[in-house]
């Protein structure tokens, strides 16, 4: 059963130095407040997993929390580069960053395999790409390999399951028992939680009872470790029905993140000096 705790306590108890952590949310419902709490608690040597690193991982990488990144698209959507990510890859600032790189289809299937309790997933993908040929070059193990279909003999692609230590997501609502409900663009969050050992879910509100909603994803309380109420916890991403995407923040991040000093000031003023859960 999920425990309902503060954000600080959830991060303190669920996420430890050296963990593999998947903070998911595909443009929508990105758990920014939880990411900032991880920075504030100064976690180190994390392996961060996420299809679209987005600003949240740019911030964690720049803050020096990350040893390795597993991802499929590392840009600022519609704006340009993630400059902290680039600085880490291109100049090892603030530290070298190991990367394991996939396509979206590959990452999505790796989560499906993890959630399904399988060692790998099969797809048509990667054939002829550098992602396939360079996979494993800069990492301990290859996670993309050809596989022959036992029925047709066709060669397909196998991708290794993702099994994070911790999944972190943001959802619209939970009830007092810790059952979680989210809707709108649902991304890969259900798979991320079900493939992980532990999970932290921040929510816009905690309600007495979850009314059924069309197309909503429900994660029963017994699949979740910790629930924390953090209204606005997805900002500058959004929670459909509660907030809108703060596109100006995404546009403004470009200049903050380009400059190490501007970024360091941002980190002090907007993360370290701000109490947990306050956007």
């Amino acid at each position: 059963m999920a425990e309902i705790v503060s954000l600080a306590e959830a991060v303190e108890r669920a996420i430890h130095d050296g963990d593999a952590v998947a903070m998911e949310g595909f443009t929508h419902l990105i758990p920014f407040a939880a990411g900032h709490e991880v920075i504030r608690q100064r976690r180190r040597d994390l392996t961060l997993i996420r299809m679209t690193p987005d600003l949240i991982y740019d911030q964690l990488i720049g803050a020096g929390c990350v040893r390795k990144l597993i991802f499929s698209w590392g840009g600022n959507p519609g704006v340009g580069s993630l400059h902290r990510f680039r600085d880490a890859v291109e100049h090892a600032w603030p530290a070298a960053l190991e990367i394991e790189e996939h396509s979206h289809a590959g990452m999505a299937n790796r989560y499906v395999a993890g959630a399904s309790g399988l060692p790998f997933a099969v797809l048509r993908g990667y054939n002829g790409t550098g992602l396939e040929t360079r996979n494993g070059d800069h990492d301990s193990a290859s996670t993309i390999k050809p596989i022959t279909c036992p029925f047709t003999g066709e060669t397909l692609t196998a991708v290794a399951a993702i099994r994070p230590d911790v999944a972190v997501i943001h959802a619209q609502r939970a009830d007092r028992s810790g059952n979680v409900q989210f809707w709108g663009i649902a991304g890969v969050q259900k798979e991320a939680v079900l493939s992980s050992d532990r999970s932290v879910v921040t929510v816009e509100e905690i309600v007495e009872r979850l009314d059924p909603r069309p197309q909503a994803v429900v994660l029963p309380s017994w699949t979740v470790s910790y629930v924390a109420r953090v209204p606005g916890g997805a900002h500058p991403s959004y929670a459909l029905g509660y907030s809108v995407r703060d596109n100006d923040y995404y546009l403004g991040w470009d200049s903050i993140s380009r400059d190490r000093d501007a970024f360091t000031r941002w980190l002090d003023e907007r993360v370290y000096e701000v109490p947990a859960g306050q956007p």
Partner: protein, 268 residues
């Protein structure tokens, strides 16, 4: 797109539109009404939405965020803006959009951007210069593009043309076009038929039917074949009589500027 590209008066001359506007309009025209279109971020999204607002109201826009049949009335900044989910026929999970919708070859056209593209239509959005482990420029990476390029029935690429973006050989193959030439897609087991058009801010390139090397088949008004060759990193071939592509109509420009005049700062 939120930023209007600066206008070079020497290039634009008397024309009442920018090269970027011409490119977006040409890209929009490549989409037919009723098609299903898997839309990449940036320039392709602007063009696909322009097509829906003009000659192709029945164009079905599919974004990798899982929004199928999105009908935004303003340009989304990201592929997951709320307006896409709110106006979609269906919203599915990310594993589902790739596995059930893209992979089986249900989608007519994949609409992609590129940082680099080579003469066989292979796309690089991963790294430029140096080596993979120590690149000079780290780009965002693959996203949905490799499987969009592999599995859509056909692919159209929109890219600003320069000798740095249209290159003899890409530094990294993120998404496969025709590999190293005829037969490679079949050999690799790619189910879609590959890139059919590269639409740039100078004109349109299409693969030579025999060699599959991209060749200029159309130019915008006032653009010379020499200019296209100069802004290409390989020895670019031009068909005998390249088409002169029509300038944007007032209706096309109006629709495009209406979109760009309302950059997607806030939604709902």
């Amino acid at each position: 797109m939120t930023s209007q590209v600066s206008i070079n008066p020497a290039e634009v001359g008397e024309l009442a539109y920018t090269p970027d506007e011409m490119m977006t309009v040409a890209a929009a025209r490549a989409l037919r009404d009723g098609m299903t279109c898997f839309v990449g971020i940036g320039l392709p999204s602007a063009a696909a939405n322009l097509a829906r607002a003009t000659h192709a109201p029945g164009l079905i826009l599919i974004y990798e965020s899982g929004t199928i049949g999105a009908k935004p009335d303003q340009l989304p900044l990201s592929i997951g803006d709320g307006i896409l989910a709110e106006t979609a026929d269906a919203v599915v999970s990310v594993p589902e959009i790739f596995n059930y919708w893209l992979q089986p070859g249900r989608i007519d056209v994949g609409f992609l951007g590129a940082a680099q593209i080579d003469k066989f239509g292979n796309i690089n959005t991963t790294v430029i210069g140096g080596d993979y482990g120590n690149p000079r420029v780290r780009l965002p990476g693959a996203g949905g593009a490799p499987e969009i390029a592999a599995s859509c029935r056909e692919v159209i690429v929109v890219v600003r043309q320069s000798s740095r973006s249209l290159v003899e050989q890409v530094d990294f193959i993120t998404s496969v076009g025709y590999g190293s030439g005829p037969g490679d897609r079949e050999r690799l087991g790619l189910t879609g038929s590959g890139p059919k058009k590269i639409i740039t801010d100078l004109g349109v390139l299409e693969p030579d039917p025999v060699t599959l090397e991209f060749t200029v088949t159309g130019l915008y008004p006032g653009v010379s074949a020499a200019a296209a060759k100069e802004r290409t990193g390989w020895d670019l071939a031009v068909t005998a009589a390249p088409a002169i592509i029509g300038a944007p109509t007032p209706a096309e420009l109006d629709a495009l500027r209406r979109f760009q005049g309302t950059p997607a700062r806030s939604h709902q």
